[in-house]
Symmetry: D2
Subunit: 372 residues, 4 copies
């Protein structure tokens, strides 16, 4: 299968370069009958968009989605849904000076090593512009999951460099350009980012993403594990260097009695597992956390080599986010939603349908299960 596709039953194939004529995707396997309109993509694309605030890069893209196929009279028909976005704010000359140089920490070098040829304009295929189409595809998955199973996928910025949230409030998250869960800290973040931008440097971040309402039983054993697929999906986001499920690396120092989630007829007493055991959902909240490295595209000079193997100093003058983690929240949500929808379809293929209300604890009746 194409490495530009993912998903087994709900498949997403993306294409397009940062400064090519367009980017797009083909979403296949969506159940028929889902209402979807071009306008519905705007909200999440806007959340992800460059130029949303002064804290992200200055590229301004309309990100207008055209639905090319798979939707008839406002409803999905079961055939592939192709979405297209024209690139409008291309400034290829910004990148002319790096066409023959390899920016340290960037995919320029590894793409060149692999293919012997690369599109240097804005990172070409390796640009985070590709994630626009993940977010677009994720809109479909989020909607279907919500309508069909009441599943809700949400994320937030959980750390910005050394700054950690002092509290937590879902309501705050969408009210600031950082997806930060504590309104009071927003001014602090703004000062931090302003100073960082002035310095020419960048910073890492952590993003958390969770899903509520996932029915127990979604996921598959061994190599199709829900956490394994989440790990792949989240790690595939540009700049991500680590993925945790549940307690993640904190479990290194935990005792078994501390980590295991005890169960009662009223439900689990804790959720260290992040809602997944043996690769299969338990019915609890699914929780994942990722780290995004500080962007490598800096205007502070750095040692590197050119295509001829000669030493050069590189300075990146294009438009780049000083913290790519800020805009990663909707991307991480999209990836989790796409993985969940794919697993949902796979689950009902093998095990029948679980109905719309997820069971909470074993005693519950699970209609349709194990009927072959």
């Amino acid at each position: 299968m194409s490495s530009n596709s993912f998903g087994k039953l709900l498949t997403v194939t993306t294409f397009g370069e940062s400064h090519g004529p367009a980017i797009g995707c083909v979403v296949d396997g969506c159940p028929p009958g889902l209402e979807i309109a071009a306008e519905e993509f705007a909200h999440d694309l806007q959340r992800r968009a460059t130029g949303k605030s002064r804290h992200t890069s200055a590229r301004r893209e309309a990100d207008e989605v055209e639905i090319l196929s798979g939707v008839y009279e406002g409803r999905t028909t079961g055939t592939p849904i192709a979405l297209l976005i024209r690139n409008t704010d291309q400034r290829s000359k910004d990148y002319a000076n790096i066409a023959q140089q390899f920016r340290p920490g960037h995919a320029d070098y590894s793409y060149w090593q692999k293919y012997g040829i690369r599109d240097p304009r804005g990172g070409g295929r390796s640009s985070a512009r590709e994630t626009t189409m993940r977010v677009a595809a994720g809109v479909i998955a989020k909607k279907w999951l919500a309508q069909r199973y009441g599943v809700r996928v949400r994320g937030y910025l959980a750390q910005l460099g050394e700054i950690a949230p002092q509290g937590f409030d879902w309501n705050a998250v969408e009210d600031n350009p950082f997806f930060w869960p504590v309104a009071e800290q927003v001014p602090e973040l703004e000062s931090y980012m302003d100073a960082l931008r002035k310095s020419g440097d960048s910073i890492g971040a952590r993003v958390n993403v969770v899903a509520d309402g996932v029915p127990a039983g979604w996921g598959e054993p061994i190599y199709g594990k829900l956490d394994g697929e989440l790990a792949a999906a989240l790690m595939s986001i540009n700049a991500v260097k680590g993925v945790e499920i549940g307690d993640g690396f904190a479990a290194v120092t935990q005792k078994g009695t501390e980590h295991r989630d005890l169960m009662t007829p009223q439900g689990f007493l804790s959720n260290h597992a992040g809602g997944i055991l043996g690769g299969i959902a338990t019915g609890q909240q699914i929780t994942a956390s990722i780290v995004l490295k500080p962007t490598s595209s800096l205007r502070l000079p750095g040692q590197t080599v050119d295509a001829g193997g000669q030493p050069v100093e590189v300075v990146t003058t294009g438009r780049h986010d000083p913290c790519v983690g800020i805009r990663a929240t909707p991307i991480a949500e999209a990836m989790m939603a796409l993985v969940l929808m794919d697993q949902a379809l796979r689950h009902r293929a093998q095990c029948g349908d679980v109905g719309q209300v997820p069971p909470r604890i074993p005693g519950d009746v699970r209609p349709g299960q194990a009927d072959g």
Copy 2:
């Protein structure tokens, strides 16, 4: 594709339950002509084996591999290689009392929710016994990678609860039952484990795994990224709750100037990236780190429910490791080797062959590259 298979060109399909008649795997896509004998599996299987020391579970399996197909006169023929191991030390009655109960923190519950039926003997399919076949398959991948490209994959225990290595020596790793890189600390580990075992509790751990000699260019963009596939492969190992590539979560607090790996004609000046940029190998050492949660199978009682939804207290009396991380090193190596071999085959399919000596820096000649 089957969720009990992984890999695109080098595919591994495993089967078998912990206390069923046998476990096995089918390795397909291996190039023809590789010499392989049944005896060659013994070393890594022994490294992974239960019963290797008093610090791991007391189950004793011969783990004798029978090659059922794909090898003729000692060499692979290009057809599927089936490997079979009979289970010999089954004690199903150990598990009779938990057939109707769900051990907290264990896949018992989620499997039951998914399938409405489960094999309770030793965890059935969800048991870490399945990883035996990953290690067996990994033996083939390790050998091919070493012979064909000089790639070497190795791992070690990088943390045991609160204990971290005080130094590092590859030579120490294979000389103690913990895969610990500092010989002097082994007595401390032994005391710790003895006390832990007596307490009835278990502990988490961290395992690092690295690959040397990986040619720049292996890996694929977007959803076939080398780090994305490593994340999925490593997260699919039982008890793993997090995966890091390179600096991993440490990058949350790093600046861009700190994280980016500068390049010179003599090579990279650091390796925060873990040898992967944009999903593609840079020619540096590939580094990954995983966390293994403390095992949930404890003889200390815990609250749970039974299949009827009633509250019960569960005590697990079977044979279980107090630290599953100890035996995870060869498993993590196997998974990394399998991912690398698969990517190697995919790379030469699309881009031709890179030859046996990996290039270090752009100026190097890369024969066969970009010839279509």
Copy 3:
């Protein structure tokens, strides 16, 4: 995906050489809860078995199936079902003389060209012995299709060289070693085969296979078409050189008014389409027809070359069927059943479940359809 696997959700991976220690398969994706016992494989394996009558090859295999995994207390658990058959009647020395020669019309030569190495014993992996495992896997698919949807898959020999059936009676098919649908013609077939065997030559054949009760809607558009997948599955059977759906090649000379199947509220008036339109089942009987070439393994000498490129005359002295088509009926049934079960699972993943009674005509109620 492995080329020794097929199916998307119900996957079958086979392994094993004709004269290796064993052959086997892994069937994954089967819904949980299906009752299955080792004895249930005997019937179809016996139908396919060599040595069933004097008209097929004299190799005598017990073909005893061992279930290695995926079944607990007589029911499938949803985990991979591994089936193993030990080869017992190996006579490798029969093939010693052809190890360095390429039998004309046989895969000896092409395997050698591909891999540069081959297992010459009985054709190794290219032997029709591999089809034993298809039949075994097909037993599971047939049973599930029958129980869950009332689908029945059956085949028969539709032509033996120049001899065509003079009539048709399903009841006759299983009462003679040829799967011939006209009891009165059996003596004629026996005489024909006796003479053929004496002559040392072989003959081609046609096998028809049909499925009744397939619900309208199974199948997928474009590259996942039901007829496209049947074509691949049937063409993959050893010696098959052509596949037809419905009227097949007869449609070359048909007019549109003759070919199109008119519809009435009571149902279709004909079935030229073979129950498939646009790759999707119409609810009518699915019909397919295949040609099996005459076997190339003859004791009549033939010109060929050896591994050194020198001309030689080859005589095949092993045990071979003079008409491989005779035993192909259960194999073709198995392949059709496996394709249908896979499509059934895929259909309910995307479109929900159609219930057990297939709709006949549009006015019918189709429960669960288009509910997303």
Copy 4:
């Protein structure tokens, strides 16, 4: 994997409806460095185009290909190549009257049964308009195969109803609108088609497609067989009801001594096998033949039912070819080329590269083979 995708390493994903805004495809896995320009698609698209002559449907599409991605400065970069064609000659109202009726012999009914919703405009996704993108993708495959391995794929109309070619000349094929290999018969075909069109009826046809220069060794065993994949690819073309490799159904009545292709140091003495043994190329010409049913879209009235299950008479007034087989030649070529390129990449992944000159007979040196 998406059912709107095919190929394992060279993957093609198509999207778009007959009368939607656009059709397109994403071709992934193409080696880097291949020169390709938008103009290169014109030739084969023109060969396939509706409106090429009065003998095909009157729809007139510019079929202008826009390359959206994957090509930089005229060469492929190894990233996905997206191709887009805007639909310009949509006449949706032509189809308004059949939105609630099911044309007999058409996918209207089966799509409706599957999805419960369908785009009725010109057959929507089931329209042969989709094949435009196959032809476009095929242009890339043809070019790569020719440049890299000297492989050439060509087809011709081999029968039109009862009319069979009286001779054979490749030079004639491209000089008439029928792809007919005998120039002298073209007037006869024209008269036949004129009469047919007047009658309002349609006719079936046979198309042959062959590949020269395919290296021995391409193809894979068992379920990845070259002939199996050709069968799937060709059967997936609209209106195809049968596929033959080599002698195809003629083998039903052949003796083994007649069918087997004898070998000499100078090469094979015949090619009944169609260049494939055991699913793997022998180095001979690959030959395949397909039947295309007469189109079901007729202006002669036919009995059918409507969406309410009521009987109606349907008359199709849109623009339809009286013989869809005429335009199928470039489509069949494209499908064969795509299958071959995919197998070529897979072969060099597992077995190394065979070089550009295909070996003819065993004595030949095969560089790079079996080197692992």
